[in-house]
Each structure stands twice: as structure tokens, then as C-alpha cells.
């Protein structure tokens, strides 16, 4: 009987541990990636009466109970290892653990196709801006950043909406852009030619949504060459000779993998070139503005763009303004920023989007700049 009493008290202790750890925090279980903290709620009789206190309190307790992170990781690992299941709704995987954001899969098969005529209005405005800036000696370029789903199109996870291949927004935007004479770089096609060359280095990692640093360096080189050609200047190019290999991901190379919140992360070998820059002062570093989605981050990390540009600015989704010291966070919100003045000072403006985001090309910049330079 004594042994049974001891077992009962041990179990009772185990049941109490999460509650105790939540309040006393004697064991730190680390962070769960991708989940926002749920705020606590305050009691009021009115909230108790209408049931909202219960809902908010239960949600808070559910999300902040002690060892929650461990519970989540164990559950995710069980699901992943036994069933190949991912508990992050927007991530899909192949049997060999290539992870994709489902938006890229939909963009790849054309499930999000906006229609043949959809891009005309925005691209015509873009053409007007391109011509206007050209008269001012500025360069405006649209860069279609590469999609992992496009690069690995022969090895994609199934998606119910993607039973058949349809027209894609990317193809439509490029086609119309070509017909209008828009400056555009299609990194998707360029990367596919690169794929044919066998390499041990990753352009896209298994568990990243974004391109790797290695992949981004080739894109940077391509963007710089395009700019040099258009503006008849010579710019510094990033160079690398040594490559460091690591099983620990840096920056965004495992951003999707992190979202899985597994006990045992997916094993992968990453390549990190040691970048060095030319200090040739005869080379030109144009003042640049980059507008677009999160693929630009990889170009900003380690100062890659800064070494090729002067006073570089990054307008994230045309919403937050980042300068070269991006670690300090956004310096302003676009709505409070005198962005037309910055455009006047810039030499080059790049609008860069990945295929799922092309239908919101410029995130409002094109429309607002058009309104500024073409008042009715």
C-alpha cells in the first residue's frame, strides 16, 4: 500500500509541475517559434457573466502553462516522425523533408491566378514611372525573386488546389512587362539554368522558405551586372573564395524548419561563403531603394547590398523603412515618411517580389508614385 501511495503522490506532483513552473519558472523551456504570446486577462464580473473572461483566461493558460514548449515539441515530433504531419498549417513537405510555404505552391501551379488582364493597369503605371525616372537619370527595375517551388518543381508536395497546372501570375506579369518594355529581371528562369550545373552548395535549403546566402549572392551579382549595363557604371561585386560548411543554420536558412518546433530538428548541411569586397574607390556605388518582400533581407544581411550601394534603404512591403543599420529596427513607417524626397535622391529603385506577391507589386508604391508624378 505504501508503494501505491508513493506512486499516487508522484503522479500528483507531475500534474502540479506545469502549474508550478508557469509561476515559479524554475526550468526554462526556450521559445516556440512563430506563435505570438497571448496576453493575460483581468477579471471583471461583467466579463465572467458574458463568458469572455473564461475564453480569454483559458487561452492564456493554454498558451503559457509551464513546459508548454516541451509539450508542443514532443507532440510535433511524434506527428512528424510517425505520420509525416506538420502542425503549422501553411507549411507543406515532401517525403524527403523539403518544406514549402503553401502560397508558393499555389503560385507555382497557378491556383492564385488573377486573370490575363489583371497586371495591365499596374504595369502601365510602372512603365510611366520607369520612363519618368529614366529622364531623371534614375533606374527603376522589377526583380522577380526566385521561388523554391519553381526551382524544385519536380519535387513538390501535393496540394488539393494544385491537381492541374494552370497559367501563373509570374508568367503573365513577365509577358506583359516584356511587351511594355519594363526593366525586369526574372531570377526564376535564371536559377533554373543554374540548377543544371551540379553543385554541392544550396541555393535553397530544405527547410528555408527564402534563398540561402549562397543563392542570394548569385542574385546580387546578377542585379549588379544588370544595373551596370543599364547605367553604364562599374560597381563593386561581392566576392567569395572560402566556403564554410555547417549543420547550424544562420539567418533565414531554416525559417520554415524552425516553425515546425521539433524536438529533433531536420539535419542539413549549409554552405556559407566568406564574402569579401573590393575597396576600389573608382567603382560607383549608386544610392538605392529596395521595395519588396522578405527576400530582400538576405541581401541586406552581412552588408551585401551596402557594399554595392550608398545610403541603401529598404522599404519592407512599402510599410516599414529600414536603413543600413537594420538591426535597430524600422526608422519610420512609410505613411509618416517623406518618401518622395528619398526617391528624388535615389539613383536606383528596385521592386522585388516573389511569385506569391506579384499581384501586389510594389505594395502601393507604384500607385502612390504614379499619383505623385502624374497628378490628374
Amino acid at each position: 500500500m505504501k508503494a501505491r501511495k508513493i506512486l499516487f503522490f508522484i503522479f500528483l506532483g507531475l500534474l502540479l509541475l506545469p502549474l508550478l513552473n508557469q509561476h515559479l519558472k524554475f526550468i526554462d523551456s526556450g521559445e516556440i517559434y512563430g506563435i505570438a504570446r497571448t496576453p493575460n486577462t483581468t477579471f471583471s464580473w461583467a466579463k465572467w457573466w458574458d463568458g469572455s473572461y473564461r475564453e480569454e483566461k483559458e487561452r492564456y493558460i493554454n498558451d503559457s502553462i509551464g513546459f508548454r514548449q516541451d509539450f508542443v515539441r514532443i507532440t510535433n515530433q511524434v506527428d512528424f516522425s510517425l505520420f509525416g504531419k506538420i502542425n503549422a498549417g501553411w507549411i507543406k513537405r515532401t517525403p524527403d523533408n523539403y518544406l514549402y510555404y503553401d502560397g508558393y505552391l499555389r503560385a507555382q501551379c497557378g491556383a492564385d491566378y488573377a486573370g490575363d488582364g489583371y497586371p495591365y493597369e499596374i504595369l502601365e503605371k510602372l512603365k510611366f514611372l520607369q520612363d519618368t525616372f529614366q529622364k531623371q537619370g534614375k533606374l527603376l527595375v522589377v526583380i522577380y525573386a526566385p521561388s523554391k517551388a519553381n526551382y524544385f518543381s519536380d519535387n513538390l508536395p501535393p496540394l488539393p488546389e494544385c491537381k492541374t497546372q494552370g497559367k501563373t501570375n509570374l508568367q503573365n506579369y513577365i509577358r506583359i512587362g516584356d511587351s511594355l518594355g519594363i526593366n525586369q529581371i526574372d531570377l526564376n528562369s535564371w536559377y533554373l539554368t543554374f540548377r543544371n550545373k551540379k553543385t554541392d552548395h544550396l541555393i535553397f535549403s530544405k527547410q528555408g522558405i527564402h534563398w540561402t546566402l549562397y543563392g542570394a549572392l548569385f542574385a546580387t551579382d546578377s542585379i549588379i551586372r544588370y544595373t551596370e549595363n543599364k547605367m553604364h557604371i562599374r560597381m563593386p561585386h561581392p566576392q567569395w573564395s572560402e566556403i564554410e560548411y555547417s549543420y547550424t543554420a544562420r539567418r533565414t536558412d531554416d525559417d520554415a524548419g524552425k516553425m515546425l518546433n521539433l524536438l529533433i530538428p531536420i539535419k542539413e548541411k549549409f554552405s556559407y561563403p566568406a564574402i569579401h569586397y573590393c575597396d576600389d574607390t573608382t567603382l560607383t556605388k549608386p544610392k538605392t531603394i529596395y521595395i519588396g518582400d522578405s527576400f530582400i533581407w538576405t541581401l541586406i544581411f552581412d552588408g551585401i547590398l551596402n557594399h554595392a550601394n550608398t545610403n541603401g534603404q529598404y522599404w519592407y512591403y512599402f510599410k516599414d523603412v529600414f536603413l543600413t543599420n537594420y538591426d535597430e529596427g524600422p526608422v519610420a513607417q512609410i505613411k509618416d515618411y517623406k518618401w518622395p524626397d528619398e526617391v528624388k535622391k535615389a539613383d536606383c529603385i528596385y521592386i522585388m517580389h516573389t511569385p506569391p506577391n506579384v499581384t501586389s507589386l510594389g505594395n502601393g508604391f507604384i500607385e502612390q508614385a504614379y499619383a505623385y508624378y502624374h497628378p490628374q
Binding site: M1, A3, R4, K5, L7, F8, I10, F11, L12, L14, L15, L16, P18, L19, W48, W49, G51, R54, E55, K57, E58, R59, I61, N62, D63, I65, G66, R68, F71, V72, I74, T75, V78, D79, L82, F83, G84, K85, N87, P158, P160, E161
Partner: protein, 474 residues
Amino acid sequence: MVFSSIIFLCYFLPIFLLCYTLISRRYKNSLILLASVFFYAWGAPKFIFVILGTTAIDFYIVRFMNVSAGKAKRIALLCLSLSINLGLLFYFKYSNFFVENINHVLSGIGYKNITWTKLILPIGISFYTFETLTYVIDVYRGIHKPLKNFWDYQLYIILFPKLIAGPIIRYHDFAGQIYDHIEHETAELKLRGLYRFFIGLGKKVLIANVVGAAADAIFAIPNNELGTATAWLGAISYAFQIYFDFSGYSDMAIGLGMMMGFRFPENFNNPYTATSITDFWRRWHITLGAWMREYLYIPLGGNRVKHKWRLYFNLWFVFLASGLWHGAAWGFVIWGAYHGIFLVIERLFLLKWLTRIGKASFIYSFVVVVIGWVFFKIEHLHASLQYLHTMFSWHQDISNWLPTNEFWSMLSIAAFFSFCTLSPLIVKLQAKVYHLDYTLRRHYTMFTISVLLFILTAGYITLSTFNPFIYFRF
């Protein structure tokens, strides 16, 4: 509050068990009562007063009835109590349904609809109303004396393990336990209660929720896209969902009761191994069946009626009432009537044939039950018939629904645990796990399994924010 929530698992349960273990014997019932009131008020703050108020009224009506000398007075007080309880049940549960149908008829004949504000159903009203009825009827019949202490009666009705979704415990089965449960509070029973609780939680979270998600997805597929095979898969998934969800809840309730020394009746006995529908109802929601038999079927005459047609009618009527008890929709009524018809047919001739087939007749029972669950799930006649039409005529599947590895695994596990007791060996094993005292070695094994179940179920629960039981709304 639901058992499959972090607030219950990691706050309410351990704090309650700790306080219950440490508190003096004299105050244990008070603690259980306070915890039960908190448990119900947490989830239903508006209705706690309904349940407290009605139990207070019932207690004094029954006390008065017990001391009344004249039969007429006793009958009048009985009728008063029945009217209040059934009236409240009808008001909260069936008035929406009643008004909807009246308005449907009025619209049909061109009259203006009745204006009506839809009512919210108090959690567990069907369960505690039936328990209240057993109290008043058992006292009326003289089977058991009424409780002397008002708080003891509150404890019987509001006892949190069984308050929301049963088992339905008849008063005469529980009356003595109010006082003697403390004597049964051994470490053995407490541990077995913990194991039982986590087995139930595992059934609910690990099996029922997974197959239930698939069932929901399949039943949501538009009829023109749904294929025959997928329709069957959906119906079978729902059959497993409702079984593991409800039997899991009952396991949890029984386990919690055991931790306090209460011995609740079993509510399920491997129903999908039943060799007939008659047998099925001896194994499914056993406490509801017992209630219906004792308080409806027998008062209607039971088996001792003069004419066979009266017996068959009583049988069918009781199942019609069972269907209606489950919910205020035609689907439930039809489900009940459907089972009633099979019970009558089996009584007429079918049982003899099934006995000759032997254990293999569980296939017949399972198919009949699965078909019945379609009415239960969909709740509306026309849509149910459309779904059944898809099940019984060939349609190619053109939907986007794809079964996952997890679904197939859990479906297989559900099927295994549903049918494994066809083997006498497994029946013996089940008895060892559920009913017999454990050796220390078996305790170590079950302790380990229960800890693993706690970790896994807590993990799955934290991945969702709210996880209600299927029978919660009754």
C-alpha cells in the same frame, strides 16, 4: 470547463486532488461541492443559478412529498416536480425546435411567423434533469428515503465528474456513496482512477479528435463531389469518433469518481462487438438505457403488457424518446425511431437468425449502427437521405479531401480497440485493466503508460485552444 483542457488538467485537477488529499474527512464533501459549483460556474456562469435553484426547489418538494400522508398529495407533488424539471428541459432544449417547426407550418399556410429569441442550452441539462427525476421517482416509489441534508443532494446532482455528460447515476445507486465513498478512498482506487482518467483522455484526444476531424471534413463535402467510398469512410469515422469521444468521457468521469472513492456504473461495454441491436443497447450508453427501462419502459407496462403490439409500440416509443433526448432536431428523432424499428424486428424474428450466425453478426449490428449515425450526425432528414443515397449508389469521388497517414493510423487503432474484445483473451485483459486490483508490477506499467498519455494529450491540447466533447451540448 471541459476535461480535455489545460485549465482542467494542470490547474483544476491537481489543485483539487491536493486539497482533497490534505483536507480533513469531515470537509471532503464540502470541498467536492465547492469544486463542482466552481467547475460548472466557470463554463456556464448564467446557468449555475438555474441548476442551484432547481435543485433547491426539488429537494424541498421531495421532502414535503415524503412526509405527506395522502396519495393524492404525493402524486400532486410528484407531478409538480416532474413538471418543473421536464418543463425546464423542454423550455431550454426543445422550444427552439418547437417554434421552428410551428413557423415552418405557418409559413406553409401563409401565416406570419412567431417571433422568438433563440435560447442557449445549459450545459449538461439532459443529464442532470434525468438524475433529478430518479431522485423524485425513487423517493415516491419508496425505493430510497430522501436525503436529509440539502447539501448532500446538491452534491449528488452537481458532482463535477459526471455533471456535464454522465454517466446518468440513479439516486438509489448513489445515495449510500455520498457517505461511504471516503471509506473506499484507497491508494489502489486512486491510482486506478488516474489510469482510467488518462485512458479516457487518450481515447478522446488521440483517437476521437483525429477521426472526428476527418468525419467533419467528409460530411462537409458537397453532395455532388462526394464519392461512395469516401461517404462510407466518413460514416465509419463518425461512428468511431462518437464512441471514443463519449466512452472516453465516461472513462474520465469514472476515473475521477474513483479518485474520490465513488463507484460510478459503467457506461460502455464494447458496443461495436454487439451481435444485434438489442445487444448494442445493452452495451452503449448503458446508464441511459437503464434509466429509460426503469423510468419509462416499465411504467408503460414493459414486457408485461397484454398484447404484443403494445410491447412493440412501447419499445419503439422508448427509443423515439431516447432519440429526442439526444437533441432537438428531426435527425435525432429519426435515429431513435430507426433503432426502435430494428429492436422490434429483432424481437419479431431476426434475433433467432442472428443467434445462429453467432459472433459474426456483429458485422450486421455495426452496419446498422453506422447507417443510423448518419441521421445523428447530419440532424436533418433530407440531407441525411442524400448522404445515405451516396453511400448506397456508386458515385465517384471528385472532392479535394485526402486521407492522411495520421487518419489511417488512428482509424486502424480505433477499429482494433472497437473489435478486439471479440477475442475472449482480450476480454480477460480488459477486465484486468478496468476492474480488478493491480499487482505492483502492473501499477508500474500503467503508471508509465498514464504519464506518457498525460504528456501526449497535454501536448495535443495545447496545440488547440478549445476542445469540447461531442456530448457536451446535451
